[in-house]
Amino acid sequence: MRINPKKCVACGNCTYVCPMGAIYIDPVMKRATIDRDECVECYTCFNGLSQEHLPPTLVRTVRTVFAALRIRFEPEPDVCPTAAFEPDELVWPRVVRRAFSDPRVPHESTGVEGRGTEEVKTNDVTGRVGPGDVGFTIELGRPGIGVRFYEIQEMCRALAAAGVAFEVKNPITSLMSDVATGTIRDDILGEKVLSAIVEIKVPVARAEEIVHLVWDVEQRLDTVVSIGAGVRCDERGQDTVVAPILERLGYRLERAKTNMGLGRRGEAVPVPEREMVST
C-alpha cells in the first residue's frame, strides 16, 4: 500500500485505523507516511476508510486556516477526504503479507478466506478431528500485534521436534520448505503478517504436553498467541474428555465455536490419509 503525497492532506484519520500502527504524519513532509517494514498489507486503510474525492489543495487550505485560528474541523473519523490510498502491485515475498493479513483474499493453498483454515467448522463433513483427537489452532500475532515468519518458524520447529502432524490444508504448512522439521522457506522469514495459524492434531493423551510446549515457546516470542482446541463431541453432544484437561491446566472455558453437525458431504470420495502431514 502507498499513500499518494499529491493527494494526502495529513488529516490523520488513517493513523488510527492501521491495525499495526504503521501510519504516521511525517513532520517534515507533512503527509501521512507508511512504515513499510511494519505494514502488513492488510488493506484496512484502503478497504475500511470511506473515500471522498475532494480537491487536495482546497482541503489543505481550509485545514491551514482553521489550524491558524485554533479551530478544529471534526470530520467523520473513518474517511479519507481525498482517496489518497493506492494499492501497490505486490511481488514475492511481500505478497505473503497480504495473503495472511487481508481476510478478503482467499489463500491460494486452501481456497479459504480469512486466515485460510477450516478447523472444526466443517468437521461434520470432513471428519478432520475425530473421537480421541484434539485439533489445536495456535494463532500468533493476534490481536493487533502482528508476527514475523521467523517467530512462526520457532513455534513450528518446536512442534515438529515433538513429532506432531501439521494440517496439510493450512497456509503455514504450505510455506514450509521442510515439514519434517517445521522449517519455513528462507525468503519469507523476515516478512511480517497480522496473524497466522499453525494447525496440528494430536491424540487426547498428548494435549497437556502440547499446551506446555506452546507455553514454553511463547516465552521466546515477541508477540501474543491465542490457542484454540477443537474436539469431537460424543453422541450426546458432550465433551467430557478434553474440557477437564484444559481446566486442569488453568484455562477458564468461556467461549467456543460449536459445530451443529448439519453439514452434508458432496458426492466425491474423501482421501483422509492425505489430510495431515506427519513428521
Partner: protein, 226 residues
Amino acid sequence: MTNTLHRFGSAESFQDDFIVFAMACKGPYKQANALDGLRRFLQIALEYHPVNLGDARHGGAIRPTRRMNPLAHWTRNNDPDFQAVVDGLTDVTTCAAVFDSREAAEQFVKRIKDENLGLSVNVSTSIQGAEDCCEHAGIPRHSVGYSLGFEGKTEKMPNSQVMLLSTMCGHGMISHSLAKKMIDFVKENRRTPEQAAATLSRFCSCGVFNPARAKRILDDARTKTT
C-alpha cells in the same frame, strides 16, 4: 479463520453476542448448490432480526463507501443494509448472521436445521449459549472449538475496554487505536455509542462485528476507567 472464536470477555459478556455462520467446505467434500444454500441462510436470517449480516468476500451490513458525498458528514446513515448483503452474495464463502438475543439465535438455528441446507453451521458464543441453541433445535453438538484466550506477550495488548471492542473482528481489521478513539469520542460526547459502533462496524470485512454489543460496551466505557 477463527475470526469469531477469540473474542475478549467473560461468558456473561456474551449474553448479547450470538454469531451463527454457515460454510461449505472445500476440496473433495465440496457440496453442490452451496451458493443457493448460503443465500437461503441469509434470507432466513432476516426473519429473526439480526444486528449484523455478512459474507467473507463483501463485508457486513454497515459498509464503507467508495465515493462519499461531503454532506454525509452531517447526515451519515448508520443503519445496516441487510438486503445488500443478501443481494451481494456472488461466491461460495462463509456467511454469518449476528444476533443480540438468545431467543432469536435459538429460533434461527432451529429453523436452519429444519431447512436442511446441507451446509456446516456453527454457533460462536458462550459455551452454554451454544449448548442452549443445540438443545432448542433438538440436536447434539457435533464438535467444539474452545477459545483458550490470549497469552504470550500480553503486556503488548491494550486495556480491557479496547480489547472488548477490537477483538470483535478476529481478522484484526479493527485497530486498537480506533477502538480507543471511539471510546474517547463517546466519553467526550463527540459521538453517540450508536455512531461510534457504526464506525467500527465499517472496518469488519466479513460482517461478524456485533454493533449492539459494541454500543453496550461503549456506553459502559463512558463512565468506567478500564
